[in-house]
Symmetry: C2
Subunit: 510 residues, 2 copies
């Protein structure tokens, strides 16, 4: 791993402006979040990355439970015939399914293994669980008294991807998938919106990532859904990242899985279902929303360690005295509750060059870095740096004041990260009304050099699929969503000129 040296200007090479995609890979690597595995397209989530995922899980799980959902667990493997029950669904997922065809390995005469004992019916490793969960729901739901049925599953899923990228697009990923059943269309639609609101709340208040809530167009809808809603965030290269989706499934999957119920009048009918999910992709979103040229920045609400204390050991001072000050400071901070958990403090007393250790924690994005040396001890002070500020900007504060203000400092970092991300999005969100301006906006000045350009284009669109297909083919741009709160206004489609009633968001995306 490249240590920052006097000659390098930043801890991560290349910088974001030099080569954004490569900066992303290097930032993920340098922060020890994850790495590629020997299994094509699959990643290993390392302890620092997994601990961030655990914090995401804890917060989301509490929000799901507060809205009445319970967790359960369904099989990893899905019979091939189940997938086929919903036509659009199988069409959408068949191309990326890992298929289990045998249930034994056997050694040949040469000692080499090969698959043996073929299955009667191949099984697919779940790419998503609507069909297998639907088969169970059909048994569980008999009467309106069984509704609503509100279930969530934390699980791994597999989608065979040809071009993968750590967290953003991997063959296996971790996620949660909510699956609910309702007696009426209205209730199911309300559930779809409620969970979209939960995701937006989580993104903005825990991840410090501003998002736009909206509905997907036909081209981007979940296979088998009636309507797909999403939260979309702008990354620092101005591309959109879909960060969570909530699907109103109508009665499509209820029909496919035979989920029927008797209503209060004894009449049998198909139920209404929804599904919604977020994944480890959110960790990629966090990296690209907040990271800088020195590494990633973890928002305090997600941080496995809120603060790290680095003892500065000098030759003429007792190592034990310094460590003792660090330990008692850590104990004081850990006694403080920050949004329901103790302030998590690491003391990095390992051997090694002080500079290397500092840069290790900068790259990992710990919100507050504290350096304690003899001078700080003599003054009863805490010398610290905030990861959202330039790394040279350090402050000394009396110890009692620092402990008293620890939560305020963390909240202020959380807020500043959100505001910075929001300012970036606002700066690069533009209203565009002509086709020429549209094409210019989405064309890099020099196509040979990877370059940050474009942004969110708020444009009129009349609803024609052709227009979306054309800009996707020409520019790699798609409609990210029809924003939920877009005001109605008369206009003409930016590409076709046909009458339109509101603006949608066009952007390049991950």
């Amino acid at each position: 791993m490249a240590e920052k040296t006097a000659s390098a200007k930043t801890a991560i090479t290349p910088t974001r402006t030099e080569d954004y995609p490569e900066w992303y890979q290097q930032a993920v690597k340098a922060s020890d979040l994850a790495e590629i595995s020997p299994v094509r397209g699959c990643m290993v989530i390392k302890p620092w990355g997994y601990a961030i995922w655990e914090n995401m899980q804890r917060a989301l799980d509490a929000m799901f439970k507060a809205t009445g959902h319970k967790n359960a667990y369904f099989p990893l493997l899905i019979p091939m015939s189940f997938l086929q029950k919903e036509a659009a669904h199988v069409e959408g997922f068949a191309k990326e399914c890992a298929v289990v065809t045998h249930h034994r390995l056997q050694a040949g005469a040469d000692g080499k293994l090969s698959p043996a004992s073929p299955l009667e019916e191949p099984l697919v490793v779940r790419p998503t669980s609507e069909t297998i969960i639907g088969a169970m729901f059909a048994k569980w739901v008999q009467s309106y008294r069984d509704l609503p049925l509100l279930i969530n599953q934390w699980a791994n899923v597999l989608r065979w991807e040809m071009r993968t990228r750590l967290f953003l697009r991997t063959t296996e990923f971790l996620w949660q998938e909510g699956h609910t059943v309702h007696a009426t269309e209205q209730e199911a639609r309300e559930e779809t919106r409620r969970m979209l609101d939960v995701y937006a709340d989580f993104a903005q208040n825990h991840m410090a990532m501003p998002v736009i809530k909206g509905e997907k167009t036909d081209a981007e809808r979940f296979p088998g859904a009636v309507a797909t809603f999403c939260i979309e965030a702008m990354m620092q290269d101005r591309k959109a990242l879909q960060s969570g989706t909530s699907h109103f499934l109508g009665r499509n999957f209820a029909r496919a899985s035979e989920i029927k119920f008797l209503d209060a009048n004894g009449r049998e009918d198909y139920a209404w279902t929804t599904s919604w999910g977020v994944s480890t992709r959110l960790i990629g979103a966090m990296v690209m929303t907040h990271g800088d040229d020195d590494g990633i920045i973890v928002p305090p609400r997600l941080a496995p360690a809120h603060m790290v204390i680095l003892p500065v050991i000098m030759k003429d001072v007792s190592r034990e005295d310094v460590l003792e000050y660090c330990r008692s400071l850590a104990a004081e901070l850990r006694a403080v509750s920050y949004h329901g958990r103790p302030i998590e403090v690491e003391i990095d007393a390992r051997e090694g060059r002080g500079g290397d250790k500092v840069w290790n924690w900068v790259r990992k994005g710990v919100p507050v870095r504290i350096e304690i040396g003899p001078r700080d001890i003599a003054a009863g002070a805490v010398f610290f740096a905030r990861r959202d500020r330039p790394h040279r900007e350090k402050t000394s504060m009396p110890r009692a004041e620092f402990t008293a203000r620890a939560c305020e400092i963390l909240d202020d970092i959380q807020k500043s990260l959100f505001e910075r991300a929001l300012a970036l999005r606002e700066k690069h969100t533009v209203r565009i009304d002509t086709k020429d301006d549209f094409y210019r906006f989405f064309t890099p000045a020099n196509p040979d050099k990877p370059e940050i350009h474009g942004g969110f284009a708020l444009c009129h669109w009349s609803g024609e699929a052709d227009v979306e297909a054309q800009v996707t083919a020409d520019l790699g741009v798609s409609i990210r969503c029809i924003p939920q709160d877009a005001p109605e206004e008369d206009g003409r489609c930016v590409i076709s000129g046909k009458p339109s009633r509101r603006r949608v968001i066009f952007a390049k995306s991950y």
Copy 2:
């Protein structure tokens, strides 16, 4: 689901003595823990079962973190060639591996799907992760400074089983697998024992399940391990259930995966590794340790709901007054902390017959059942039943006293469950010194009727594999473990008569 009626003597049919295996299936079903899925050998863990698993996870995870371990996540799929690196390991698992051979489904002319796009190398769905994690550890470990490396993974695994049983033996199950690397044999052996102690602590203090710690014989050792240690519990049919294992892997897997390090003197050598795991099988252990003929009993430390309040609504009393009393009682109880989490209280105010609701919660094993009617409100009292006592035994207690003593009552239930299980084990653990007595002990009186018999036989054994093979063939009995704290004593093998230095535990097992 069969409701208990006046004619039935118990909520579960058959009873434990009538047909223990069938009682188990019915108890799991009636308590809504889990059910079989349409996927052969795979179960669906329902919300009540999954919430118990979450409580197990929370407690174990805290214990793993307190002993210095960090969580990470590794790929679900393992290249076939990786499994082959350790000879005993592949021998042990090849027969039960689900194999992914294709990464796409395609529809034929008849519209039917079939697997397409064969993989160059088949991938196995992990039956355990030593080999894939070993491949990563080989990259992560370079020097003695990187050691010890202490990692845990929460994951699903697949082992193709021909005869499955909910929780006890399923094709897919959930578990945790710890994997650690050490510089010295002694450190690795200490780690193996430390984690066995963690498991025993968890079993006894959280599950209220007494266990015996010991070492497995060659016949029962983990494929590839140098030594396997285990905790063994006695179920109510007197069979043993292996409830957790901790393996000292020597340098077998380090050699297979090339995990080498430079020691402080710059000398390169293979490292020493361990692995250890417990699974959703523990839920089966809980059912069979504590359940009675009215359903399961969940120990308070594991209970998703510690208490349920059943409002008794009469025609001449305001429903709202009763509910108000229930809600304020629940709020008081929830304000009490029981071993680090609030006392969890459910109010079951659903419509329906009171008796059905009572039996629903009895079957689910909620530790304390509270019934609140007009008389209790008038008296300012709480009328409650403990699940560890006969269902008709109910107590009235002044409300303030009940709230003040709530934790004490829960702890007392926890203790009584442990003591009852311990008494059963002690009653059915016998020292046997002759072959005749041994065969009599393990032979049911009437072989046609499934019957509870046998127990733990503490017998001398000289270490001969033949003896173990013979009693397994004759009686279905195996050596469960060589107990850790067995005193050395002179004796003669109960079967072969050869000299022996200590007693081991023979038993039938799951």
